[in-house]
Every structure is written in C-alpha cells, then in structure tokens.
C-alpha cells in the first residue's frame, strides 16, 4: 500500500540540539554577564541584537506551546493564571506563560528566569498586554517596549498609505533603539544590528523557499515535521545559526524532492490546516495518515514567519526575494525591517478575512490540495479572527472544508472523540478509505 519511498530527515539531531541550546542560553545568560529579554515570537528580535552577542531572549508563543506538550505542567500553570484572576478564554500561550511566572518554574527546569526587559510587538489585542502583565507579575521592575505593527494591510491588499505605515513602524524601531540603550546602559552597535537584520530576512525568506518545495507530489515534508522546523523562526529569526540551519534544511528537502522521497509513503490526498494545532493532540495528523491524507502545511506554518508576497495577477503566493543590498544606516535598516515584516501573510487577515481567504485559496490551488481543515482555536483570538468567513470564502471558491474546535494550549477545550469523528466523516467525503491496520 506504500506508494512512495520515505526516509527520516538527516538534520533532526541538529534541530533538537539548536533548540535545547536556545533555551539553555536564555536560562544561563546572566551567569555569563549577559542580558535576557522576553517578547512575542513576532518581535523584531534583530533590534536587541545590537546590544551585543551575549543578549538572549525567550519568545512567549513557542514557550507556551512547549508548556502545552506537558499536560500536567500546563494544567498547573493554567490554574495559577486563573486563580490570579485571568479569564479562561484568554490566549492559552499567555496563560501558560503567566502561570509559569506565578509558579516561578521554568518548563525546561529550574526557576523561571527573570528577564531584564521586555521587547515585543503588538497586533492582536493581547501581545503588548501579555508582556505588560508579565512585567508586573515579575515584580513591576521590568521595563517594556512594544512596537505596534497594526498599521494596516500590505500591498496588494491595501496599496494606499504604504509609506506612511512603514514610517510609523520604523519610527518606533528607532525610538526602541534609544530606549534599549537607556534601560540597559549599553552602547548600541549598529553593525551587529545590520547583520542580525540580514539574518532575519535570510531565514524568513529561506523558510518560504523550503515551503515552496512542498508543492511536489509526494510532499517531502508533512505538517507534523514542519511544526518542529518552522519553530526556529518563532524562537529568533535573526539568529545566525538558525538562518544557517534553514540553508542546510533547504538543500536536504530539495534533495528529497529530486529523489521523490515522501514524508508519508501512502500519500493519496493532500490537505492544509489553519492556525496552531492542539499541541497535546498532534496524533490527529497520524490518524489522517491512516486514510492516506497528508497535511502538507498551512498559511500558518508557511506564513507565520516565512515571508511571502501575494501575486494578485496569478493568484499565487511567492517567497519574497531578499533586498538587493544590505542596509547601511540605522534608519535604512529600521525601514527595511519594517517593510519586510509588514508583508507577513499572518498579519494581513487582522484587517480583513478576504485577504487570508485569497492566500489560503492560492495555497490550496498551487500546492494541489484536496481539502482544508480549519482549527477553530479557542486558544488564539488573533489567528482565528475571521476564520468563519475564511471557511465561507473557501467553500465559495470550491474547496472542501472541515472545521473542528480545540485549543492550542488548553487541553480542556479539545474533545478528542468529537474531533476524530469529524475527521472520519471528512475523509469519507474526500473519497478516502481507512487502512484496516
């Protein structure tokens, strides 16, 4: 029944090692006289790099997700946050993160490492509030700077006011640099900043290129695997090692495509998902494979950190090419970064669901997708905003769509049996048959 050859990724061990090193660096930063900051996975992490090579960060979303993997631990953190008075329907990553502070326990072991400052961005209702409150829970003496990226949609969706919006964000980055010098008492190094910014653009561009390779049939990567690889973009896109890792990864995946290596040997149908999965229940992807259905990605895994441009004319999604020259001045670099990140696919739906529907439909068409599975994720209002309209829009454009409710970081809100039942029905309607084994 296996149609295609398959083999494990060679770069697995490296990925694991890089990830552990990252969390360890954050925990140990102080021992080496370095600095620690906390912030959103979407923060402009290249900017604090200008403070020196001994500056390490923790990004809340992947941290929250790593808590969610450990159900008892997560339950403890969520309870702590609720008992402090935080509503249960707030972002599940955020509640895990706050709970982690309140329990003074680091998911990777030891006490929760207190940050020297918070450096984040803001687009959903919670991002800046997340760290505003984290700073308060840390004792109120942690300073915070937030960069508002809620400046409107990027061309082609909203061509007007483009420059004004870049300037707004770039201006905040300029102010942010002065602020960083002030709160850390360190001299800011623009050269380090330029290099970090370039690595940021390298890794986010390369990630998109990697996702392009998944247009191949059979898909060289399945989404379960993609989850453990896209994470580097969320940890620290401007990290030199991560950018380098994505170059290696690209070559390996390219090689898989050339040799026809499949992620799932019995690939019969291809689906895409949307929003963060219920991290404690990734087995639903394995379950789909019993039917020969492979989730080959999503606007989420492609465009959360990967940088793309929507091509209106050809109704296609294309990796955004790197700028032709590296930045020379601080202002130029801030503008380049602002411009680079404002086109992020996962930013656009905040302004209108239509934009996301177009991009998702483009993926469905160009990645040869048979069905779309939308996770109505109670854990994240930001990525689910407009999702019901996305569903209607995708149906209108002739896609088969299934939805299920769950929560990326709060297992209490995921009904496994119900979700599996829905998958059965959906797979059935895709004309697939469950393998008896």
């Amino acid at each position: 029944m296996a149609k295609y050859p398959t083999e494990p990724l060679k770069c697995w061990p490296k990925a694991k090692e890089l990830r552990n090193k990252f969390y360890k660096n954050f925990a140990e930063a102080k021992d080496k006289g370095g600095l620690r900051w906390m912030g959103s996975a979407w923060a402009f992490d290249a900017v604090p790099m200008g403070l020196g090579n001994d500056v390490h960060c923790i990004t809340g979303e992947p941290y929250g997700a790593s808590c969610a993997f450990d159900k008892p631990l997560s339950a403890k953190y969520l309870a702590a946050a609720e008992n402090y008075g935080f509503a249960r329907d707030l972002c599940a990553y955020m509640r895990n993160y706050w709970g982690s502070i309140l329990c003074n326990q680091y998911a990777q072991g030891g006490k929760f490492p207190k940050a020297d400052f918070a450096w984040t961005q803001h687009i959903c209702c919670s991002h800046a509030k997340w760290y505003q409150n984290a700073c308060e829970l840390e004792g109120g003496d942690v300073p915070m700077f937030g960069v508002d990226v809620g400046a409107g949609a990027y061309p082609p969706f909203e061509p007007e006011m483009y420059q004004n919006r870049i300037d707004y964000v770039a201006g905040q980055l300029m102010d942010g640099i002065d602020w960083l010098e002030e709160v850390t008492g360190r001299k800011y190094n623009d050269e380090l900043f330029f290099e970090a910014a370039w690595n940021d653009m390298r890794s986010t561009n390369k990630w998109a290129e990697i996702c392009m390779l998944n247009r191949a049939v059979p898909a060289p990567l399945d989404e379960k695997t993609i989850y453990s690889l896209y994470v580097f973009g969320t940890l620290q896109k401007s990290n030199k090692d991560f950018a380098g890792f994505y170059d290696e990864l690209y070559d390996e995946v390219k090689d898989r495509v050339d040799r026809g290596i499949a992620a799932v040997p019995n690939e019969k149908a291809r689906v895409i998902s949307d929003t963060q999965p219920p991290w404690g229940f990734l087995k639903i992807y394995r379950y789909m494979e019993k039917w020969g259905a492979v989730s080959i990605g999503s606007l989420y895994t492609f465009g959360l950190e990967g940088m793309w441009l929507y091509d209106e004319k050809n109704h296609d999604l294309r990796p955004r090419p790197l700028p032709d020259k590296k930045p020379q001045t601080r202002e130029e670099c801030c503008k380049m970064l602002a411009d680079w990140h404002l086109c992020k696919p996962e930013y656009q739906h905040f302004y209108h669901p239509e934009y996301k529907t177009k991009m998702m439909d483009a993926i469905a068409k160009n990645w040869k997708v048979d069905g779309v599975i939308l996770h109505y994720n109670r854990g994240c209002e930001g990525l689910t905003v407009g999702i019901a309209e996305n569903r209607l829009g995708l149906l209108e454009r002739g896609n088969k769509v299934m939805t299920y409710e769950g929560n990326m970081g709060d297992e209490r809100e995921f009904d496994e049996a119900a979700a599996m039942n829905r998958i059965d029905i959906f797979m059935d309607s895709l004309g697939l048959e469950k393998s008896k084994d």
């Binding site: 402090y84 008075g85 935080f86 509503a87 329907d89 707030l90 972002c91 803001h122 687009i123 959903c124 209702c125 919670s126 800046a128 509030k129 997340w130 505003q132 409150n133 700073c135 308060e136 300073p143 915070m144 700077f145 937030g146 960069v147 508002d148 809620g150 400046a151 409107g152 007007e160 006011m161 004004n164 919006r165 300037d167 707004y168 201006g171 905040q172 102010d175 905040f350 302004y351 209108h352 669901p353 239509e354 109505y376 109670r378 209002e381 930001g382 689910t384 905003v385 407009g386 999702i387 019901a388 309209e389 209607l392 409710e405």
Partner: protein
C-alpha cells in the same frame, strides 16, 4: 421633560435615523467603535451613527463569527445581517479590538452599503509616532469621504466639526456634574440614555435638548433613596436592563443603589476628553484620539486607565465598583485583575460580573444585592 427625549431616541434609533435622511437628504455612516473621528464626518456634514446591539437573542451570526468572540460584536453584526441598517450610506471602523473588527468585516463582506473604510487607529498611543501616523491616515479617510459626498472640505469645516463634538463633550460633562450630588438629579439609566442617544442622533439636534435638560435638572429632585453609590468599570455596556435592575433593587429589597459614574466606552471613555485647538485641526483631532483614556487594548506599556478610574471614584464619591466585562472581551480580561487590585488597594470594594448579550437579571440581582449587603453597615443585623 427633555431628559425623557433621550430614552425615546434610544428606543427609536432607526425611526430617527431614517427620518433624518428623509429630512436632510444627507449621507449617514455607521461606525463600530468610539475611535471613529466624528469631527471629520461632521466637517463633511455626514452623520456618524454608532452601531450598538439590540440585546436580543439571534441566530444569524453563527456562520460568520466563531464562538469565542464577544457577544457584543455578535449582537452588532446581527443588526446588519438582519437588515436593520440597510439605510446607511457607509460603514467604518477605527481599529481597536479585533472582536468588533470582525463584526465590521463580516458586515463589509455581506452587507456592504457601497462605502466602507478601515482606519488603522494606532495601538501604540503612548508613542510620539502615533499622532503623525494617524493624522496622515485621516487624509486617506478624507479622500474617501470626498468620494462619498462629492465635496471637499477646509480647515474651517474641520474646526466646525471639532466645535460640535467639543460642545457635546462639555454638555455631557455638565450633566454628569449632577451625579456627584448626594441625591443625584438623574439615575444611571437616564445618564446612559443621554450619552447613547447622542450616538444615534445628529449632535446639532441633540445639543439643544441636552442643554434644555440641564436647565430642568437644576430644579429636579428624584423621589427615591439613592442607596449605595456605584461605579461601573469595564467593557462596552449599554445594558440598561442591568442598570435598571440595580437601581430598582431598593424597591423590592432592603438594599438599593444608584450608578453614579462609569468608566466604559458607552459613556466616559467616549466623551470625557475634548479636542485642544492649536490651529492645525487634523493634528488636533489625531491628538485627541491618541491621548483620550485608552481602550485597554491600547493602554500600554503604562496602564494609564487606573488614575482616571480612581479620580472618578473619588470625584463621584462611590461606595463600590462593579467591574463588568463582555464575555470573551480579551482587552478587558487582561486589565481586570489589576484594575480590581488597584481599586481594593485604594479602599474601593469591587465585584466582578461577566455580561452576555442578554443579561441574566435573576442571577445578577442576587450577586449585586449581596455585594451591596457587604457595603451596607447595617449593624442592626449583628
């Protein structure tokens, strides 16, 4: 009495608005959040009307809004989907929370009146970059209003818009003065009708009535025991059924109360701050919306709301605060534990209530009553 006119307007908003269009043959734009710069609309002689819910159970929004979004945005969207606002010439929203934004975009997809605009009101209002950014975005709004109306405007028109809105704000604050009195000359419900009716009417027609109301209030005394003085803090809330329940408790039970002040966007967050005129109207307007008391989603890194809330509590001499929240309202949910702690630390008892589209008055009454009992120093009982 003039004050009764407010309630009439509130209850018959659609009749008024349809009639306004008939009378004036003017353009009318519905807006979804108090960050909409009404000054600019008045400069074009376009009537901005705020869209609020109807507090009725409905079953039309299910396909459009996923269950975790707030009841208020559902209720608002339902008004559009049910066609109650088909007479509008346009809709607009100024970015605040993403919940309400979804009501706007679904409305835009399924009920687009031919003109719609999303204004990226900056979230980082504590940044010096916010005002220039917003002022520039206003220019795009103006361009689109030129397309809607076929006319162009000058600074003179903008200043006219500013004066209208400032007059509204001053008048509302004058009326709020009466609520500071020991026996307030108007109830919380009446105050809510007053502010909300202005959302639905032409300020130029609302103002004379409001000024008349002031004259009448000067000589009015309410024949009721004000009971405990309460403050409402929190999410959007024009839930008059709840306020009336609170203010009539005294008629049925041995404890009563009057709502004397609120900190939410159907009243003070909407009108308390005026535009300061420095000769550059667009800048001035941008400045006003950037520096007004912020919606929690914009109130960072410093939580500036707290001082305003405490000042209200002192100026209006409140006995306790009820912290109300629309179910699933993330911005407020991120503030509430700190708002409550801050008030308690300042010796103002609080009680928390979560609101849905319809108020479950029964369960709420017992909570409010028990909260009042804890404020009540009724030593006869012990």
């Amino acid at each position: 009495m003039a004050i009764e006119k407010f309630q009439e307007w509130y209850e018959n908003r659609h009749d008024y608005q349809k009639d306004w269009k008939k009378r004036t043959d003017g353009k009318m734009v519905g807006y979804f959040c108090t960050y909409a710069p009404e000054e600019i609309f008045y400069a074009f002689d376009v009537l901005p009307v705020r869209i609020l819910g109807s507090h009725e159970i409905q079953d039309v929004t299910e396909p459009h809004l996923f269950g975790m979004f707030c009841p208020f945005c559902r209720d608002v969207l339902a008004q559009g989907l049910k066609g109650k606002y088909d007479y509008l010439d346009g809709i607009m929203i100024a970015q605040s929370c993403i919940h309400l934004r979804q009501a706007y975009s679904s409305w835009d997809i399924h009920k687009n009146p031919g003109w719609s605009h999303f204004l990226p009101m900056p979230n980082h209002v504590q940044s010096p970059r916010a005002v220039p950014f917003l002022a520039a975005e206003y220019e795009l709004l103006i361009k689109k209003l030129e397309q809607l109306t076929g006319k162009t405007i000058t600074d003179k028109d903008l200043n006219r818009g500013i004066e209208i809105m400032n007059d509204v704000r001053r008048t509302m604050k004058d009326i709020y003065e009466f609520r500071k009195e020991e026996n307030p000359r108007l109830t919380g419900a009446e105050a809510m009708y007053m502010t909300c009716s202005q959302f639905f009417t032409d300020a130029r027609e609302w103002l004379p009535v409001a000024k008349q109301a002031i004259t009448e209030l000067k000589t009015r005394t309410l024949d009721r025991d004000p009971g405990k003085r309460l403050m409402l803090v929190g999410s959007e809330n024009d839930d008059l059924e709840f306020i009336q329940m609170v203010e009539t408790l005294g008629e049925r039970e041995s404890v009563g109360a009057t709502v004397v002040i609120e900190e939410h966007c159907t009243t003070t967050r909407y009108f308390w701050d005026e535009v300061e005129q420095t000769g550059n109207p667009l800048q001035d307007i941008a400045n006003r919306y950037v520096s007004r008391t912020a919606c929690p989603s914009k109130d960072w890194p410093k939580r500036t709301r707290l001082d305003r809330i405490l000042k209200f509590a002192k100026d209006f001499n409140v006995d306790g605060a009820i912290v109300v929240q629309q179910k699933f309202c993330d911005p407020h949910e991120t503030d509430i534990p700190f708002v409550r702690k801050f008030l308690e630390d300042n010796d103002i008892p609080t009680y928390f209530l979560e609101f849905d589209v319809t108020t479950a008055v029964g369960p709420f009454a017992i909570r409010v009553e028990a909260f009042l009992e804890t404020l009540e120093a009724e030593d006869d009982l012990f």
